[in-house]
Amino acid sequence: MDIHEYQAKEIFIKAGLPVPPGDVATTPAEAETLAKELGGRVVVKAQVHTGGRGKAGGVKLASSPEEARGHAEAILGMSINGLTVQKVLITPAEDISSEAYVGVLIDRKKQSATFMVSPEGGVDIEAVAETNPDAILRVPVDPRYGLLPHQAYRMATFLYEDPKLVKQATRVMHQLYTAFSDNSCSLAEINPLIVTPEGDVKAIDAKVSIDDNALPALPEVAAYRDTDAEPPSETKAREAALSFVKLDGNVGCCVNGAGLAMATMDLVKYYGGDPANFLDIGGSSNPDKVVAALEIITADPNVKVILFNIFGGITRCDDVANGIVEATKRIDIQTPIYIRLTGTNETEALAILKDAGFSAYTSMDEVVETAVQFAAQA
């Protein structure tokens, strides 16, 4: 789960990181008040779950509270990468001597949390990785020991020479790791970590993603979820414990298992169609999930046909069949449904569907090709 910059800053402050003050505003008037309280120059920053805010005009410097109000007026309601800005962060404008990058993420290869630090901060770290890989130091953290003092120190000396900055940066590494561990982050990033002309190290931007699997155990962090910042279909899918990603095509897909779901989308494309979504109804499925899946898919006006592709392992085909039958009783589905079911309890499932007047396929290619053809003609 991505959280907003202002929320990430709260997490950082709890971990002791040197974060400048600031607060969030939802109206231009609030922005002006906050700017007045902070005094001096401020930055008005759009709070949206997407990169490229700066380029889109979502980050503005204001020399006065009035100017801050004006910027907030322009930024609030702005659409960045399809997401509407509903909050702005007002924070003091810092003078900057140098910018560095510090991030922690889960590294699949090292099977552990790994730091990435670079003296080239304030820019896209992926770009640095491609153009100047030696400017990035990677330090894996052994989960049995956590971040060790000499690792933190080594990263700090990679960023700075001045012992006073090294000392501050060493502390920053430990604090960032604390924030990362205590909040089950999949990513915690400071970009940039700046040095002010006075020689203070400060984290002036904060980016944090939380491991979805950890949210049940972290109610305070889970409360950071901003459903206004995501499409309603994804909110609904999440609440039904479905994995769902909206796409632009017209073939609605409902599959069990992520790999098979992707392969189904790929096959739709292979046969000349366009998938309307990725949707994994998951393991241990129950009929309610299928109902929710159908509601989400049919809410998309682009969808011309619904394609079920179910291969039963932990998911039992009869559950899915019951779900389809149940769903068609509860909601009025005009869109034709093409069903392919095979695997665990396949026989029972086919019987249920037959009783309810559905016809079902057992070949994946056959069902996909037929559905795509129908969508093309519809």
Binding site: R108, S112, S186, N213, S243, G259, L260, A263, P275, F278
Partner: protein
Amino acid sequence: MSIFIDTSTRLAVQGITGRDGSFHTQQMVEYGTNVVAGVTPGKGGQSFEAGDRSIPIFNTMDEAVQATGANASVVYVPPAFASGAIMEAADSGVDLVVAITEGIPVQDMTRAYAFVRDRGARLLGPNCPGLISPGKGKVGIIPAQITTEGPVGVVSRSGTLTYEAVHQLTEAGIGQTTCVGIGGDPIIGTNFIDCLEAFTADPDTRAVVMIGEIGGTDEQEAAAWVKANMDIPVVGFIAGQTAPPGRTMGHAGAIISGSAGTAEEKIRVFEENGIAVARRPVDIRDLIKEALGL
């Protein structure tokens, strides 16, 4: 032959009394897997009936191993307790821990996996369907009826997509030595190369199907390993050609970040390393037929 499990496998089921654990224990026993123990804290002393078998239930893995000589375990416990169950299993001395549970916090897994390695056990998964050695036994949730004995090793990051491929092989009369689902989480205990190594050491495996997906670079590393170490043919498939970048496609590990981890890139590296790549799941069957000269 087979990899990781065989007829000497003595399985303990952790979470045997839960919905999934009980259902799949029935299935495993039906298939002939030697399930020797169940573990559910607080239910020690009870037993689990599966067909004509009465499987003793223990409070702890230690007790299960001591009483039954279990040498492998499969984990069906809920995500909040699963990493603890994995460590408990490794601490009890079993050689193999297969973790089916989905939704285990990733940082819990980094610790649990380090623990399993420290104890010298093999972890498969989590968030994986387990494995089946047709005719010998199965551990996990792969539906046995889609498999049959034969010369093909199957390894996959996906669950149901594996079933699809295996099903089509079986329908074409091509059996499997072992089918392994390694799971789609960022932190997993057994990776492609571990399985490829095991298949290479198995004289009965004459071809391998390797099913990958977007995200990470495990497939690329496995492809390089194939070229450097394997004489038998490998057929590949990559799911996610239509996946948009930056979005998690169900599996926590299935996300394209930056330019790395796209399906195109993985397919390219597969082909570069001599792995025949299937465009559709159904093509896997045909490429394997070709590879085996059938």
